[in-house]
């Protein structure tokens, strides 16, 4: 065993897989120590906030202010509202309105704004302009309001007695706050999902749940596969025939069909994460059974097993002492693969709507399902689905790498 581990850690594939997997595991274990929010807590009022640092506008006005004279400040301010796309759009509108192209210089912000302010009329709809486009121009116009105004902004507070607004604070164009001094800043590295839940917190928690599902499914499948494989291989005869008949049968019938039927039969209310994991395990033992049986058959007549039989050892002793240690490597490899296929199966089931109960825990599959239902992929909200896909791919990539590494340790012919 020590030798195998030593060999395994000399295989670059195994080591790469191991490091990735341990990194994922470390994330799952340590992240909740720093971010203690409930993963399903809804923090955003709205769907799909993009990733970024969210600073409380209210608290910003209360934070200490610093005056900084930055030459690029004005350009940035205008640029944020008036990018190339907007400038092009404005030209398009002006040309449609009847201004000669030569008179419009979209690089000169002041001139462009003068033209726009002079002619833009939200009520106008030119030939071929969709109503969506018309609305776009109206929104654009609204956002440009006061763009070139260089006056300070005044914050007004209602007077408790008269109800009239009284200026309480004036914000200059050169006023800055230090983000560290603002009372409420929330970093959302992966934004929020369709419900306004922090994607990263949810993702970490989902990875944890999915790993547990994989582990449970893998354990169940391995235990069933190992038991059946040992029985079929060691006892042989009729037992072997019967077990192999069912194994072949369940190889022929697609696993997803069984998964769908059983999951549906259990019903939404009864489908916890563990139940789903067990169902996955129960439907995916065939490969382990085949592998174990083949190994046991090749072992069954080895000298040390025969010796053990002649010595009158019990069947359990023979299996645990003389057979299991020799097939352990295959069982471990099959187990690793079962974990990753378990995670994939959960994801597939959840997308079809047969995953674990939805309000209970996040899983990678459920995150995918919601992203799909809310068309995150069509709306190009990449942060709602891409990290999930990457997480699934990384988990199964790392597990498969470890498996391939072990395979090369056990089967030298595959080495390069």
């Amino acid at each position: 065993m020590k030798h195998i581990l030593h060999e395994a850690f000399r295989s670059p594939k195994f080591v790469t897989g191991f490091v990735i997997f341990m990194a994922i595991l470390a994330l799952v274990v340590f992240y909740p120590l720093f971010v203690t929010d409930h993963p399903l807590a809804i923090i955003g009022q709205g769907t799909f906030f993009p990733p970024g640092i969210y600073v409380s506008v209210y608290d910003t006005t209360n934070a200490p202010q610093y005056t900084m004279m930055l030459p690029e400040a004005e350009g940035n301010r205008i640029g944020a509202k008036l990018g190339d796309v907007e400038r092009e759009a404005m030209r398009e509108w002006l040309i449609d309105f009847g201004i000669p192209r030569a008179e419009i210089d979209i690089d000169d912000t002041a001139k462009l704004m003068t033209l726009w302010d002079a002619y833009y009329d939200p009520a106008l709809r030119f030939q071929g302009m969709t109503s969506a486009r018309q609305k776009y121009f109206a929104r654009l116009d609204a956002s440009l309001e006061g763009l070139l105004v260089m006056e300070p902004r005044v914050i007004a507070v209602p007077n408790t007695e008269t109800g009239a607004f009284e200026a309480s604070q004036s914000i200059e164009l050169t006023d800055f706050v230090n983000v560290n001094e603002v009372a409420n800043v929330r970093v959302l590295p992966l934004g929020t999902d369709n419900f306004g839940r922090d994607m990263l917190t949810q993702l970490v928690s989902a990875i944890g749940t999915s790993l547990q599902i994989g582990l449970v499914a893998g354990t169940v499948a391995t235990l069933i596969g190992l038991t059946l494989g040992l029985m079929a291989g060691y006892i042989g005869g009729l037992v072997d025939d019967v077990i192999m008949f069912f194994t072949n049968l369940f190889t022929a019938i697609p696993g997803i069909v069984l998964l769908i039927l059983i999951s549906y039969s259990i019903g939404q209310e009864n489908r916890g994460a563990v139940t789903v994991a067990v169902v996955i395990g129960v439907t995916s033992w065939v490969w382990t059974t085949r592998a174990v049986r083949a190994q046991v058959i090749s072992l069954r007549n080895r000298d040390h097993v025969n010796l053990s039989k002649l010595s009158g050892h019990s069947i359990f002793h023979i299996i645990f002492a003389d057979i299991l240690p020799y097939i352990l490597s295959y069982v471990v490899m099959a187990f690793i693969l079962q974990i990753s296929s378990g995670i994939l199966a959960e994801a597939g089931l959840s997308i079809l709507g047969l995953g674990p109960k939805t309000t209970d825990v996040p899983t990678l599959g459920l995150m995918m399902r919601w992203a799909m239902i809310y068309s995150a992929h069509i709306l190009n909200k990449w942060w709602a689905f891409f990290p999930v896909i990457v997480a699934i791919a990384l988990i199964s990539f790392s597990l498969n790498l470890m498996n391939t590494g072990l395979d090369q340790v056990f089967n030298p012919a595959l080495r390069e």
Partner: protein, 335 residues
């Protein structure tokens, strides 16, 4: 020919056995639900339904379909009779449309999408795997990690990535449906072109999924074959490497055919999920909406059809394999 007859006979019998088992499972699984299955299904189907007569109607519909008042064996005969008549019950989510009608309209989309895609993916994967095994140094270092990573992308993952790149970012291809939503199926050029364009993304994402796994399997097989004694012997007789690669490729490919037969079920499973991503009008999307609509008869029938498709495909591959590999013939005549 005698050897072949034995092989094909055995395969045919097994095909029959698995068919019967598929029907049995389809029959038994819902009846294994705790309590009165009809009541359970009815309760689930009628969630939110207020009209008591409506609930009663649903209950009777199911009781009829299942024949739950009769003993088990009569229920099975009733069930098989309905199957033979092509009567798969009535859909609840699309009431009163018969289930067989829904299946009929979606099954060909799935068949014409998945089987070509899986075969193309299988061929490309084998080609890449053999190449990786042969070119070991260099290409292998690049191709292998990439194809291992790609094969670890879940089926729906690569579908979404393709969709986002080609459908959303580049706006080259439509992102959902089997044809333009403004078209009515007919034989016009416009419709056929629309079908073709909508076919691309689902097709290539299934191809992509099947490539990775096949490439890895083929590479292992080919490396195993490259180390076989006959390769060494042929080399020492002065046979050119290119010719030997031909032997290796052929020999490594043969078990891959059996591999395809064994894994086609898993592949179809992945491809069904990929279908739903593109809202492709096939069986995947049918299951998706059936689950959404708590439509038990539709789920049951769809899974049955999928099973039958897979069993038939497996059977066809095995028959084909018998003709291609001389070892089958030899093994049979020896006995």
């Amino acid at each position: 020919m005698k050897g072949y007859r034995k092989y094909f006979g055995a395969k045919l019998i097994w095909f029959g056995v698995t068919l019967v088992a598929a029907f049995m499972l389809n029959f038994i699984l819902p009846r294994l639900m705790p309590g009165d299955p009809v009541a359970v299904i009815t309760q689930r189907v009628t969630q939110g339904m207020t009209s008591q007569t409506g609930v009663q109607k649903v209950y009777e519909e199911y009781a009829n379909l299942f024949g739950t008042t009769k003993p088990m064996h009569e229920q099975f005969i009733l069930y098989m009779g309905n199957m033979l008549k092509g009567d798969l019950g009535t859909s609840f989510s699309q009431y009163p449309r018969p289930v067989s009608d829904i299946i009929r309209s979606s099954v060909w989309w799935t068949v014409s999408l998945q089987f070509p895609a899986i075969i193309v993916g299988w061929l490309l994967g084998n080609l890449l795997g053999a190449l990786a095994a042969y070119l070991k140094k260099g290409w292998d270092k690049v191709l292998m990690p990439v194809s291992i990573f790609v094969s670890n992308l879940p089926a729906f993952g690569s579908a979404i990535i393709l969709l986002v790149i080609f459908g959303v970012q580049l706006s080259l291809l439509p992102t959902s449906g089997g044809y333009g939503f403004d078209l009515i199926p007919n034989f016009s050029f416009r419709f056929i072109w629309s079908v073709f364009v909508h076919y691309q993304l689902p097709f290539w994402s299934i191809v992509l999924i099947s490539i990775g796994g096949q490439a890895i399997g083929m590479r292992s097989m080919a490396i195993y074959e490259l180390n076989a004694d006959y390769v060494k012997y042929a080399r020492f007789l002065g046979i050119k490497d290119r010719k030997i690669i031909g032997y290796v490729f052929r020999n490594a490919m043969l078990p891959q055919i059996t591999g395809l037969a064994l894994s086609i079920g898993t592949m179809v499973g992945g491809a069904l999920v990929a279908e739903t991503i593109f809202s492709y009008p096939g069986l995947g999307s049918t299951i998706f909406s059936a689950v959404m609509g708590q439509d038990y008869p539709l789920i049951s029938a769809t899974t049955l059809i999928i099973t039958l498709m897979v069993l038939f495909a497996t059977f066809a591959i095995e028959i084909l394999y018998g003709f291609i590999d001389p070892r089958i013939k030899a093994a049979q005549t020896e006995q």
